[in-house]
């Protein structure tokens, strides 16, 4: 039984993986991209992007390297690994299944 935080964590991880699947980028970039794409609906505490990134790196789905920002400032860049790609596909499936199931239940109501 995962707590509410777990669900949120899991969802955040999924989104980060997806963002990085498109192109490698640094932490701030990922946070910004999520914000933009979700139409500013999802405004997670921006800082929580970092535990997510490090967690993903710890599990081997994402790796980090030293790169440069647009202005040439040294910054850590994250990119998806092969294992991460596989994990992304899996989590997308679970997420789709989960949301479909929840929807079915909700449709049953009032």
């Amino acid at each position: 039984m995962s707590s509410k935080r777990d669900v949120l964590q899991g969802t955040l991880d999924l989104m980060v993986l997806q963002v990085l699947a498109r192109e490698p980028m640094h932490g701030w970039g990922v946070a910004k991209r999520i914000e933009q794409r979700s139409g500013d609906v999802l405004q997670v505490n921006q800082g929580s992007i970092y535990p997510a990134l490090y967690r993903l790196a710890d599990r081997g789905w994402v790796r980090s390297r030293l790169g440069e920002s647009d202005e040439g400032r040294p910054v850590k860049i994250y990119e998806l690994t092969a294992a991460g790609k596989r994990q992304l596909a899996e989590e997308r499936e679970s997420w789709t299944a989960l949301s479909r199931a929840v929807n079915l239940v909700l449709d049953m109501g009032s």
Partner: protein
């Protein structure tokens, strides 16, 4: 490979916490800066931008903390905390902790000690460069599985195996060193230049001798390091100096390194002190004379040859020899050459014994682990409430499991370290108690690999016996909280403990059977009558150098006079001399021909083990003369040649006939044959070992009459034997003074009392018996503790039942019988399983036993009684306690 980098990062983060933290903060700072800039770009004021950015980011510290926990340093801190907590818990229960630690230390210590022996003797490479390429070459023929090489065979080998890196032969002997420091006997090796080259160790000082010097019998010598230090005070100027060896002036051309040993020295208590050229000149060897097997062969196989090919080459040489010299190798002889790694040749004889010890100590270790596991399980039950509370307050199963495991590992670590410490003492004890001719005894010691083994073993043990209680601790806590402290074990846990005790009992039975068998076998072995006197006999060796006694007559006269004088000493009731003392030196074989020139059925050319004796030897050694007479003083050089044969020889070469009066012809092809008439038959003796049961033909020739046919000299080195009425050790001075009176420059060496010789001959069985008995004693003790623990616990559980029974009028004896029945129920399957295992595995012990079957019923019955008795004894106290239960008190406590 990703996992590797993850672990790398983890380890890195532990060690460079500062830098990793810094990187993280840098990242977050960058993030905030970009965010602030972004907001300012959207129109906020700098202050507003900064405030909202920080607000939206969330607590930096909180995120940093989260990251840190992800990075697992958290886990390490947990670990450290667990260790501290575990240590405190262990210290709080000193009795428990001490018992566990002691048991563990005993187990790990014993196992590590035995491993140090196995490692030093069997596993470590020999002290020669690339020793895995060194091989022993020896002869094999019908009746002899491991024979030496003859000079002709050695020459053939060196010539034919030219593609080997080096091939050589060597032998052992002695010499007399005279000069400053007095005359002393030195142990010498006579090695061909090829043999030294094969071994591959160059002198630490000076140089080795060349093939040319070897063939030319150059007067050179190499000193062994130990001898150089003891006799020459480690004087560096000894190289180039001339010393007098057996009357010959010999130049010392080098000193060998300190750790160099000749191969047989690795298993000898009389190691080489001097190395001299073998002086086997191929040009002068009579190649048609194939006999005279006294040389040991060694070769270095080149890298590009596989071992199979090397074997093929050598076998090819043997086939060639048989083809070229059919007279020397008749087909019935089934002659061939065998090759085996030198290490195997050196340690092969003791390998079975050491492996048996390793297995036995392995069993003991299993018992130790079972005992500790049981103790820990009991403890876990005792903590059931504490763990339940922890779980109720939110500790995860994983954390609790980890914590209990850490405790077990802590115990294992400390216990293991203590055990390794014990092993240091154990190894030293072993080196003191082991027979000195145990191969490679000096390599036995605690080196890094052995210590590592001990530590790995303790960790393994910790995981093994820690897992069960840890897993149990993780599950089902609330029941304990609900039922209170007396609720105790779930049935599955109790069953596990009972099974473990049954296993302990089974192992104890196996070990006790082994120990019992070995003990009985050893006792019968020590009681064996070898055919000669073993007590009240003093022996010593004397060797006459050719320089002082050039002629055979002088040698013979000296020895005869010496024996007479020894016999006249006070305290001596008879004396004689012999070439090879039984149990002390090996016999060689000598070929001869029967007068009728016939070859008896089923044998090849006649040969027999030979001894040369003086009159008085048979009496001094109380050898039994079956018929005829022994060697007498009248059997002199000019008189008709005589020989005394043993019973086996008589029956082998004159089957169905009377050997007395028959004649045999001795001598090779180069000297005139000498005849010897059989004048007596003695009973067989056990010369090679007390357990020698296959009779070999032996003949005894008269010292006055025997001449070697290479140079017509008499035997110079003889072993004096004196039957004493006083304690034999007292004869030492008498021997020395008598010899000194005849020749002050002649050393007397190898003074040994026959009792000690016999004791040395059974030293290995004695060691094995002692160790197995020790192991089985420990096993029985641990099994006793195990049974006691389980039965005692069961009694505690059944207190209510017993109380009711007694209240209802049952006699106390009934209750104690119930307890005993329970004990039997626990132990019986163990005893049965153990007996089955002992019977099935008995065949493994067969080679160690002397005239005893491994499934000897008496021993098995005794073992069963002892182990069953131990189990019953273990349950005696709990049974007694059960008997004296006060029913009122028990029932009231409900």
């Amino acid at each position: 490979m990703g996992w590797f980098w993850r672990w790398y990062e983890r380890v890195r983060s532990i060690f460079r916490r500062g830098r990793v933290e810094g990187e993280l903060r840098e990242e977050m700072r960058f993030h905030l800066d970009m965010e602030i800039r972004d907001r300012m770009a959207r129109g906020m004021s700098p202050a507003e931008a900064r405030r909202t950015a920080h607000r939206d980011f969330g607590g930096v510290e909180r995120h940093a903390e989260e990251v840190r926990s992800v990075r697992w340093t958290h886990a390490l801190e947990h670990l450290l905390r667990d260790v501290r907590y575990g240590a405190r818990a262990l210290v709080a229960r000193p009795m428990f902790t001490m018992v566990v630690l002691l048991t563990l230390a005993l187990g790990v210590g014993a196992a590590t000690t035995v491993f140090s022996v196995v490692d030093g003797v069997l596993l470590r490479p020999l002290p020669y460069p690339e020793s895995e390429r060194l091989v022993r070459i020896h002869t094999v023929w019908r009746g002899t599985s491991s024979g030496r090489l003859s000079p002709a065979e050695a020459v053939d080998l060196e010539r034919a195996l030219s593609e080997f890196e080096a091939v050589g032969v060597y032998g052992y002997g002695g010499a007399t060193l005279t000069g400053a420091g007095g005359a002393m006997r030195v142990s010498a090796s006579y090695a061909s230049a090829g043999a030294l080259a094969a071994l591959g160790v160059a002198p630490a000082r000076g140089r080795p001798y060349t093939s040319r010097e070897d063939h030319g019998n150059a007067a050179v010598a190499l000193l062994m390091d130990g001898f150089w230090r003891s006799r020459f005070g480690a004087d560096p100027s000894v190289v180039g100096r001339t010393i007098e060896l057996s009357g010959e002036a010999v130049e010392v051309i080098g000193v060998m390194p300190a750790d160099f040993r000749m191969p047989e020295d690795l298993a000898s208590s009389d190691p080489t002190q001097v190395i001299r050229p073998l002086a086997l000149d191929p040009a002068q060897v009579d190649m048609s004379e194939r006999g005279s097997h006294f040389l040991r062969g060694v070769a270095r196989v080149p890298e590009r040859l596989s071992s199979a090919e090397a074997v093929r080459r050598v076998e090819g040489v043997a086939a060639e020899m048989v083809r070229t010299y059919p007279n020397g190798y008749p087909p019935e002889m089934e002659f061939r050459l065998a090759v085996l790694p030198l290490l195997e040749d050196v340690v092969g004889p003791v390998e079975p014994m050491l492996l048996l010890l390793l297995a036995a100590v392995g069993f003991v270790f299993v018992i130790v682990c079972a005992n500790v596991a049981n103790l820990l399980l009991s403890r876990t039950e005792g903590r059931a409430r504490e763990l339940a509370v922890r779980k109720a307050v939110g500790a995860s199963r994983g954390r609790i499991l980890a914590q209990v495991l850490v405790e077990s590992l802590l115990l294992a670590g400390v216990g293991g370290a203590l055990g390794v410490g014990l092993a240091f003492a154990g190894t030293r004890l072993f080196r003191g108690a082991a027979p000195p001719d145990l191969p490679r005894l000096e390599s036995v010691g605690m080196d890094l690999r052995v210590v590592g083994f001990g530590l790995v073993l303790s960790v393994l043990a910790g995981v093994l016996f820690g897992l069960a209680p840890a897993l149990r601790a993780g599950g089902g806590p609330t029941a304990a909280l609900r039922d209170g402290p007396g609720s105790g074990l779930g049935p599955s846990r109790q069953r596990l403990k009972r099974w473990m005790v049954a296993v302990q009992v089974a192992i104890a039975v196996v070990l006790a059977t082994g120990a019992g068998l070995m003990t009985r076998s050893f006792i019968s072995l020590s009681r064996v009558d070898p055919g000669y006197r073993t007590e009240q006999v003093a022996t010593a060796r004397v060797s006459l150098p050719s320089a002082s006694y050039p002629s055979a007559d002088e040698v013979v006269a000296f020895h005869a006079e010496l024996v007479d004088r020894i016999a006249a000493l006070p305290g001596v009731s008879g004396a004689g001399a012999v070439t090879n003392l039984p149990l002390a030196t090996e016999l060689g074989d000598l070929g001869f021909e029967l007068e009728e020139d016939r070859i008896p059925e089923g044998r090849d050319k006649p040969d027999a083990d030979w001894q040369v004796v003086t009159p008085g030897y048979f009496d001094a050694m109380a050898m039994r003369l079956a018929r005829g007479r022994g060697i007498e003083p009248t059997d002199r050089a000019g008189a008709p040649g005589v020989v005394v044969v043993n019973r086996t020889m008589g029956e082998a070469f004159w089957p169905g006939m009377d050997p007395l009066g028959r004649r045999i012809r001795l001598g090779g092809q180069r000297t005139a044959p000498r005849w010897a008439q059989v004048v007596g038959i003695v009973e067989d003796v056990r010369h090679g070992g007390l357990d020698e049961t296959d009779g070999r033909p032996q003949m005894y020739l008269a010292h006055q009459q025997f001449r070697t046919w290479s140079d017509a000299s008499a035997i110079r080195t003889m072993t004096l034997v004196a039957h004493t009425t006083v304690p034999p050790a007292e004869l030492y001075r008498g021997f020395r003074e008598t010899v000194a009176a005849l020749d002050p420059a002649l050393p007397v060496f190898s003074f040994r009392v026959m009792e000690d010789v016999v004791r040395g001959a059974v030293a290995r069985p004695r060691l094995l018996t002692a160790l197995l008995s020790g192991f089985s004693g420990v096993a029985l003790l641990l099994a006793l503790v195990g049974v006691y623990g389980v039965v005692g616990y069961a009694v505690g559980q059944r207190r209510r039942e017993f109380g009711i029974r007694i209240a209802l009028g049952a006699a106390p004896r009934t209750v104690s019988r119930l307890v005993l029945r329970d004990a039997v129920r626990i132990a019986a399957p163990g005893v049965i399983a153990g007996l089955a295992a002992a019977i099935l595995g008995g065949a493994l012990l067969e080679s160690f036993l002397y005239e005893l079957s491994p499934t000897d019923p008496l021993t098995l019955a005794l073992t069963t009684l002892v182990v069953a008795g131990t189990a019953i004894l273990a349950s005696a106290i709990p049974a007694h306690r059960a008997m004296r239960l006060d029913p009122a008190r028990v029932l009231k406590a409900e």
